[in-house]
Structure formats: C-alpha cells, structure tokens
C-alpha cells in the first residue's frame, strides 16, 4: 500500500523532527525533562536531539517536576521557548500548581504583559497493563482549567504539525501524545498512526477539528487513540450499511464546536469515544456542546463510549473490559437504534 515518495514516520519520530527543525531555526527553543537526553525520551520523542544540540539545550532533569516545570514558566517569561516533558500525564499531581496556576494563568494575571510560550508534552493512555498510575488520559482535567491550549494528535502528520505550531505559539500548549500511537519498539502501535510526514517544517492550526471520514448516518467524535477505534468501528458499520462520519478533535482547547455541530447537524446522531474517565470529562462536554446548541437536529439520544469511572486496573482482562473499542462503538450504535 505504501506509495513512492512516502515518508512514513512514527509519532515519536515526527515529534522529534518537529523539535529538531525548530531548534535549528530558533535558538530560544530547548527541551527539559526526565530521560529526554541520553535515553531520547521514554517514548522516543526526543531521540537524536542530544547528539545534535548537546546537554545545554537538551537537559535531563532531576525527578523534580514542580521545579523544572516551574522553571520552564520562568524561562518562557524571560524570552526562551521551553519544551518540557512530563513523562506520564499520571504524574501531574506532583506538579500541577506549576501547570494550572502559573503556566496557564500568568498571561492573564499579567494582563498579557508576560507571555508564557512553552510546550508541556506528556504521554497518555493505557492498554498495555501499566495499571492505575501509568495509564490515564485525564484529558478532561487539563481541558477544564482555563489558560492552556490542549492538543492530542492521532497520527504522525498531525503530530509534527501540532508540535511546530505549539512551539511557535505565544501561549502555553499542553501536548498529549498517546503511548499506543507512539511507535515505540517495545510497545505495540496502532498502525494507522504511522503515516506520511513531509520533511519540511509545517504547522497545523491549533483549535481545528478534522473530519477524517465523511459519513451521513452518525457522527463519531474522538481524539488520539479513540480516532482509530472510531475509524475501525466506522468500517464495521459500513458493512451494516451505516455511514459513519468520524471527527478527530485534534485540539481540546480551543474546542472546535462548529465542526462537531455541523457534523451532527448533518448526521443527526452522535457517539463520543473517549479513553478518559467518563464523568465530568470530554464525553460530557462534547454532548453538552451539541445539545445546548440545538436539540432539534438529533434523531436519537447521544451516546458515549468512555472509560468507566474506576481506576485503571492492571489485569489485562479487566483493563480491556474497560477500554473503548470498536465493538463498543458498534454496540452504541445498536443501542441508539433500539431506543
């Protein structure tokens, strides 16, 4: 299936390439985090950068997230453009003040006189039995608190464009990459995430959702790994003669409500797929965004396929039972028909 001139990269490589190209262009960009130097990032997204840029600009840190994320805020306010890594998003609790009370708010607190141009990149997601402190998405947690842009790529093309856009953005951007899409040797990777990536630098507009599959009977909205589940479900639904449109949110903040609403206005039905916990998160927000706008377009009650409100269990059978998957999406469609 691969075409000539195709340059298929994993998300990990696409991220590293974006950072590499931006660091070549802009001396104020640098990277900080745990194991991002010699190791190249646990999830491979800084591989090769230490060799090219050296330990001044590719800085391994102590296990001191409060200090080094706080330091990124201070450096960003002083003219630098730090890219800082929180190894697993699950660790946000040890350093969240630096994130949501400083990084997110200093632009506002200063009336815009201090800018905080930094990227916080962090890995999300489970599916490989890493249990309840290493498998979460907590998309909703980050998207709920104002002042941070929040993006989550589903494939390498978007990953590169979003990373470049994030580094060039004068506002803080949280960049959430899903481990199961990353293309690490030691972790299975969803094949659909590894796609053609142009060599030259480019940006993707932050705040725009993408219709990644057109359809007319139901809109399936998701992000990150969920997009691939949605696409697989859409193929299965197609076999049943159902035409599903799939919307990849790409960005949670700003949230592209127009694209979602336009899609549901067309299809009349909505399923939201989210690997984050179900309640008080992304799935609720998407449904509310549609229904508060116009309920007349809906032909059926919207449905959600999300992680139940339980910590993420270790045992594979339990974790897989909880995770969204194409079956559950198809089943949500069936429940919709039954209602």
């Amino acid at each position: 299936m691969s075409k000539t001139n195709e340059r298929r990269l994993t998300i990990a490589r696409a991220m590293a390439e974006a950072v590499q190209q931006e660091m070549q262009l802009d001396p104020s960009v640098f990277v900080m985090g745990e194991d991002i130097g010699a190791l190249g990032g646990v999830y491979g997204n800084t591989r090769g950068l230490l060799d090219e840029f050296g330990p001044q600009r590719i800085r391994d840190t102590p296990i001191s997230e409060t200090a080094f994320i706080g330091a990124a805020v201070g450096a960003a306010q002083d003219g630098m453009r730090p890219v800082v890594e929180l190894m697993f998003v699950d660790f946000f609790g040890v350093c969240f003040d630096a994130i949501y009370n400083l990084m997110a708010k200093n632009n506002y607190f200063s009336g815009g006189s201090f800018k905080v141009p930094m990227v916080l990149m962090t890995s999300t997601g489970g599916g490989y039995s890493d249990a309840g402190q290493h498998s979460q998405c907590v998309y909703g947690t980050f998207a709920h608190l104002p002042g941070m842009k929040v993006v989550a790529p589903s494939n390498a093309y978007d990953a590169k464009g979003l990373m470049t856009a994030a580094m060039r953005d004068d506002s803080p951007v949280v960049y959430m990459y899903h481990k199961g899409l990353q293309g690490m040797g030691w972790l299975g990777t969803e094949a659909g995430a590894t796609v053609h990536v142009p060599e030259e630098s480019y940006t993707l507009e932050i705040g725009k959702a993408k219709v990644v599959r057109p359809g007319k009977d139901v809109t399936i909205v998701s992000l990150g790994m969920g997009v691939h589940n949605a696409l697989k479900a859409a193929m299965r639904l197609e076999e049943q003669g159902v035409s599903a449109e799939v919307v990849d949110l790409v960005s949670l903040v700003p949230l592209d409500r127009d694209t979602i609403r336009a899609s549901v206005a067309k299809t009349g039905r909505l399923i939201v797929v989210d690997e984050d916990y179900m309640s008080y998160g992304v799935s609720g927000e998407i449904i509310a965004s549609v229904t508060e706008h116009d309920i007349s377009v809906l032909k059926a009650a919207p449905k959600r396929v999300a992680f139940p409100d339980v910590p993420i269990p270790f045992a594979r059978v339990m974790e897989q039972y909880c995770l969204p998957n194409p079956d559950k999406i198809v089943e949500a469609w069936s429940r919709m028909q039954a209602a």
Binding site: F30, Q56, R57, T61, P62, S64, E65, T66, A67, F68, I69, G70, A71, A72, V73, G74, A75, A76, Q77, D78, G79, M80, P82, D97, A98, N101, L102, N106, N107, Y108, F109, S110, G111, G112, S113, F114, K115, V116, P117, P146, G147, K149, D169, D170, S171
Partner: protein, 329 residues
C-alpha cells in the same frame, strides 16, 4: 561590602515609600467595609497582606539588583515590588482593580507583574521559586546578564517546591538566590512548631551551597549578606540561600484578629520597628541630616499620594475585558 551613602538614602527612601504606601492602602481598605467588615466591599476588596516591618529585607536585597534582574514574590509583595522599582502608579491601580493597573485589574495585590523590571508573583506558597530558577537558567543559557531572586516566607521553606528548586539551581549552578523572610509566623502557625530546625540557612548544606542567616531585621546586615550572595551569582558561582529575621508588624491579612500571638509580642514588635531604627542610625552615623530625611519622607509620601490618586481616578475595567488576555495576543 558596605552600603554607600546614596545606597543608604535609597534604602531608607524605599522603606518609607513602602510603609507610606501600605498605610495608605490600609486606610482605604476599610472604606466601605464598615460598619460590618466584609472583605468583598470597598474600593480595595479581597485579601490584603501587608508587609509592614519587613521592609529591610526588600531594600537590603534589592539595593544590589537592577531592572534586568528578576524577582519573584509572594502573597505579600508590596515592599519587594517597590524596592525592585515596579511602577507605583500602575501597581496602586492594580490593587484597586482599575483598567490602568499593571494587569488591567485582572491580578490584584497578590499578582503584581511588571515586565519592565522583571517582577512577578504567585499567591501559592513556594511557587515563585520554580519561575525564578527558570529565569536564572534562561540567563545562563543565553549568557545574558542578570540574577534571579525568589522571596519566600519561612513557612514556605517546608513546601516541596523549595527543596526541588534549590536542588535544581544548585545542580545547574544557576545565578539564583532564595531569600527567606523569616517573620516567624505562617499565618497563625509559629516557625518552631512547623520547621524542624531553627535556622533555615542550614538547609543550604543539603544543596552544597552557601547559606547565611541574618538576625535583627537590620537593613545594614541584610545589605551585606545579600551583596555577597548576589555577587557570587553574578560571578557564575551559583546559588545561595539567605534567611533573614524580620517582623510582621500587622496581622497576616487585614482583618486578622491575631489571637494566636503571645501577649506582648505586638508591642515589642512596634518598639523594634526598623524604620525609626534606621532613621536614628542614619543620623547618628552622620550619613543623612534631619532635613535630608524629612525631604525623603515628604517626597515618598507625595509619591504615594500621587499613586493613590492615579489609582482612584482611573476607570474600572470594562467588565467584558475579563474575557481577554487568557491567551497571548
């Protein structure tokens, strides 16, 4: 390193300006809050943390800083802001929540941000440390001049951020100084029941850096100690930790009944007020004449009055401007 005559005048001037400013704020704070005190009312609503008595720390340290140096402050930032040269008019306006305020009224008194003099705050205990370390890193990486100073209270030293920031600054040998204002209270909790050792300067050894404690709330001694630490930082020799004994003459915040204070403490503190003490010493040492001091005092007062007037006369922000400045323009 001893302060020059000019520096001493500058220090006294800033102490007096800070005190006058806070006296003015304190008076206005109660406007509209009587007969029933309600923090939400009046021209200056919300919490108000005054720094009366702690001025020596701010001037003793900031005497060594210039505009390009970075300071991060706390919930109690006025004295530091004034000593760092934050625009007084716009700071007053910010405290009043006016459109002409440093942040157009979005921040208020716990969020004083002035990019002209590299001054920022966080109202969360210990959370100014990370940004100060980051600014120091930025200077080191860019080989740009400037040091970064984080002011914190002695209560903040027991916050994890302190430890992480000190270690990071030490490992990377950054031009960073942590200045602890030890007023012996964290709201109602005394230092001795919250801190395992009496002298936080000893904690510097945990990071392999110099630590020094300055007793007596004495601007001269503070000037000396800070001068050394800042010179070290400027010379690329890395961070230092200073703990400075000081006194909080007022309550933790305005409205604090201070029932937790031991009997007599308040009176004793008033006696130890550092401003009259410095005044006396300036005269005794022949560094300033009575008329010079009187001039400094009246100029400071005039400066404060002008700032308060500016704040009072300024417009409220447009309510809907609350929705702007969330992201960079």
């Amino acid at each position: 390193m001893s302060p020059t005559r000019d520096e001493l005048h500058w220090m006294y001037r800033n102490m007096v300006t800070s005190r006058s400013f806070e006296e003015a704020i304190a008076k206005i704070y109660f406007e509209g809050k009587t007969p029933v005190f309600n923090m939400a009312n009046g021209p200056i609503p919300g919490e108000m943390h005054l720094s009366d008595g702690q001025e020596p720390v701010a001037v003793g340290v900031c005497a060594h800083l210039n505009r390009t140096d970075v300071v991060t402050a706390t919930h109690r930032p006025h004295h530091q802001a004034i000593a760092k040269g934050v625009d007084l008019d716009r700071m007053a306006a910010e405290i009043f929540g006016k459109s002409t305020g440093l942040s157009g009224g979005r921040g208020g008194h716990m969020h004083i941000f002035d990019p002209e003099v590299n001054f920022a705050c966080s109202g969360i205990i210990g959370q100014g440390l990370g940004p100060a370390v980051g600014a120091a890193l930025s200077r080191q990486m860019q080989d740009k001049p400037g040091v970064a100073v984080a002011f914190i209270g002695e209560g903040a030293v027991n916050q994890g951020a302190f430890h992480e920031a000190m270690n990071l600054a030490a490992v990377w040998k950054l031009p960073f100084i942590c200045v602890i204002e030890d007023n012996s209270w964290g709201i109602s909790v005394p230092k001795q029941s919250s801190t395992a050792i009496a002298n936080n300067a000893e904690r510097a050894a945990a990071y392999g850096i110099p630590g020094m404690r300055v007793e007596g709330n004495d601007p001269y001694a503070i000037y000396d100690a800070a001068g050394e630490a800042i010179a070290r930082a400027r010379a690329g020799e890395g961070p230092s930790l200073l703990e400075i004994e000081t006194y909080r003459l007022a309550g933790h915040f305005m409205g604090d009944a201070e029932g937790y204070r031991p009997k007599g403490e308040k009176d004793a503190l008033q006696e130890a007020d550092p401003i009259p003490r410095m005044r006396t010493r300036l005269l005794t040492d022949g560094v300033a004449s009575e008329s010079e001091l009187a001039a400094i005092e009246s100029e400071s007062l005039a400066r404060v009055e002008a700032a308060i007037r500016f704040a009072r006369d300024s417009e409220d922000p447009a309510p809907e401007d609350a929705l702007t400045c969330v992201f960079a323009a």
